[in-house]
Symmetry: C2
Subunit: 394 residues, 2 copies
């Protein structure tokens, strides 16, 4: 299939380009390197040394015997999107070109506004370009499990049937997201659902859990093919941060009471799931939702797991809770469905400890790079709009 990856320079986009090429697909990608700038703005850097795109493309060609069709461009520019679609005629579009950080969106009004325009306009442009240029193509959009919030009832995959005052209806599950970033994902979801309905487009909206990991097999031993690994307060996920902390001997730090529950999955499973969605497209007019994660963990439970695996590798670290800079429930009911991908054949990597071991071994090599930016591991962006480093709770 001809697959276009928007945001191909990012954590997921870069490995996905290799994974799909290795399976024989024709892959094209775009990026405008925003993520590199955002992480720099956070005073941080990727733990893995990321090459500039020209070097990445060279390494790609050497390893896969084919070019990655790359073009630098911003998805918020409609002329760019339209021209790209017309030239490449994508059969699938994987939209990873969004600003993906809750804290970054909460910094101030300007970051909230940027997150809204970047994320919403990118998606609106893609939807219009699909309508006008490639109406048969399939949009695989990265949403997040965070769109649902933490309701006191089970979370279905996108839709549920309810009875209300004696009448029945199938409705989208109501969303209650916890940051401006998560809000933009909810807005995107509403917009994509609308576009599928009126323009008979087709889309898979992936409500993805927290992804962790440093590599996929397709990277082999070529360091130039490594994907980025962020650990700063904005672009590092909880589990990636725990791993970075282990490597430099800094306490693993869940926020607040630390009993927030989230769904997690390894990077390699994210690749597998996205590919299942791409290779099994929905019908025209169909908007479908996949809740994409392998298992739900409480964050403290997870920190203890990382601590144990780190210990096996001779890294001794404490778990020490930090003041929570977010406003969020720290203890809650959480029971989301995740059957749709299993029905398509998703075969989860069940051994989280083995995956953590691979990550930690990779990260030990780059200990100096984490060490050099260790200040970025302690958050100062607070949900109340102030900016002040949080402190350890005891």
């Amino acid at each position: 299939m001809r697959i276009f990856i928007a945001g191909v320079d990012g954590y997921l986009g870069w490995p996905l380009s290799m994974y799909l090429t290795a399976r024989g697909h024709e892959v094209a990608g775009a990026d405008c390197y925003h993520r590199r700038d955002w992480v720099a703005e956070m005073g941080s850097q990727s733990a893995t040394p990321i090459r500039r795109m020209t070097e990445r493309l060279q390494a790609f060609r050497e390893n896969f015997g084919t070019n990655l069709q790359f073009i630098r461009g911003d998805m918020t520019d409609y002329n760019f999107v339209w021209n790209f679609f017309r030239a490449f005629q994508p059969e699938a579009i994987v939209h990873l070109a969004e600003m993906p950080s809750a804290p970054y969106s909460m910094i101030d009004v300007h970051h909230s506004a940027f997150t809204h325009t970047n994320n919403l306009l990118g998606t609106i442009n893609i939807l219009h370009a699909m309508r006008d240029v490639s109406p048969e193509s399939h949009l695989v959009k990265l949403g997040t499990m965070g769109e649902y919030g933490t309701p006191n009832i089970d979370i279905p995959e996108g839709f549920f049937e309810i009875e209300y005052r004696g009448r029945k209806e199938i409705l989208p599950f109501p969303k209650r997201a916890g940051s401006w970033y998560h809000q933009t994902k909810v807005h995107d979801t509403n917009n994509i659902m609308f576009a599928c309905r009126i323009w008979s487009l087709r889309s898979t909206d992936i409500m993805q859990g927290v992804v962790f990991g440093t590599r996929i097999d397709e990277m082999g031993d070529d360091e130039r093919l490594l994907t980025r690994f962020d650990f700063d307060q904005s672009f590092g996920t909880a589990i990636n941060r725990f791993c970075a902390q282990s490597v430099i001997g800094m306490p693993l730090s869940p926020f607040g009471k630390g009993h927030q529950k989230r769904g997690f999955l390894p990077l390699r499973d994210s690749m597998q799931c996205l590919t299942l969605a791409i290779e099994n497209p929905p019908e025209a007019k169909e908007y479908r939702v996949f809740n994409q994660f392998e298992e739900v963990y409480d964050l403290t439970e997870l920190a203890v797991k990382v601590q144990k695996v780190a210990g096996d590798l001779g890294l001794t670290v404490d778990v020490r809770n930090l003041e929570n800079p977010r406003l969020e429930p720290e203890e809650h009911y959480y029971n989301p469905d995740h059957q749709h991908l299993l029905d398509l054949g998703y075969d989860p990597t069940r051994d989280m400890e083995a995956e953590l071991k691979i990550m930690l071994k990779d990260l030990i090599k780059y200990k100096h790079r984490i060490q050099a930016r260790s200040h970025a591991l302690i958050p100062d962006i607070r949900w109340d709009g102030s900016r002040k480093k949080v402190t350890y709770l005891k």
Copy 2:
């Protein structure tokens, strides 16, 4: 109270400034005259002759013995909003500064993007300025009944309690809006709900029905105080368009089968309801929803009512359905609640025919202005992205 009206030059904003001033409130307003430009872009004009703001302010001073504190500015400019809030210290903010047209938002990708940035950034700016400058103030935000769409179950006011797999939860009612414009209102709703929750702000989100009417009593006989009355395909509401059509002897034209049901209320009731919301603010952290309309009508039923009142005034017109340029259900269940405002003391103007008579008499004076732009009454903006005049169905 000190009340700030964002969008004070518009259809609702201008009369609201008089209505509130007459009740003894201190009113300030901002506008950047977007609406005047949008209507010009549609090749149309207000049926009532609208004065430029300097003249409006002069007439306001003469009639109400006080200044309307007006400043020209765009709500998408945070510096403007922040400075205005700091100087005026509003107790209530009525946010009418959004692009309010479904067809306008559907013209093309650029109009969709503009609607998103204009509407979302204005609201985001207000929420941040409230947090930083006037955290006790109350945001009265104009949403629309169109946010709900037309589900096959009753529509509550914002929230409902449901049981799902044996557990109960109170959730926001899921929205399924029918245009990019309506989508932006849903996004705003989600954003406001979030800001109230995390920043302890207070807001009333008004899901308003279709407003009709040319005047409120406070305007007296001063023609300079008239509010705008749009009848073009984008900025004229269905009922305002029917009245404009009656005056020039053009058939009243429901779209498609013409059995879309909507909630309606007269302009004077809109003023009454907004004032009830303003004068009875919610608690800190409270986000409440009022469904604001008086009665539900099927659009053909309404056209027949306008036809009858027009006939009483000697205006003979047919009802003749036009091809529907929208993609929407033309026959559907519709039963929205609207109790909250009645509980606060809303006393509806029950006699729609008397209100229609006032409107038609006002419009007869400006028949030549409608006649001069009669082409704007037949839509050419279609939901499929094409632009082609619709034709009569028989």
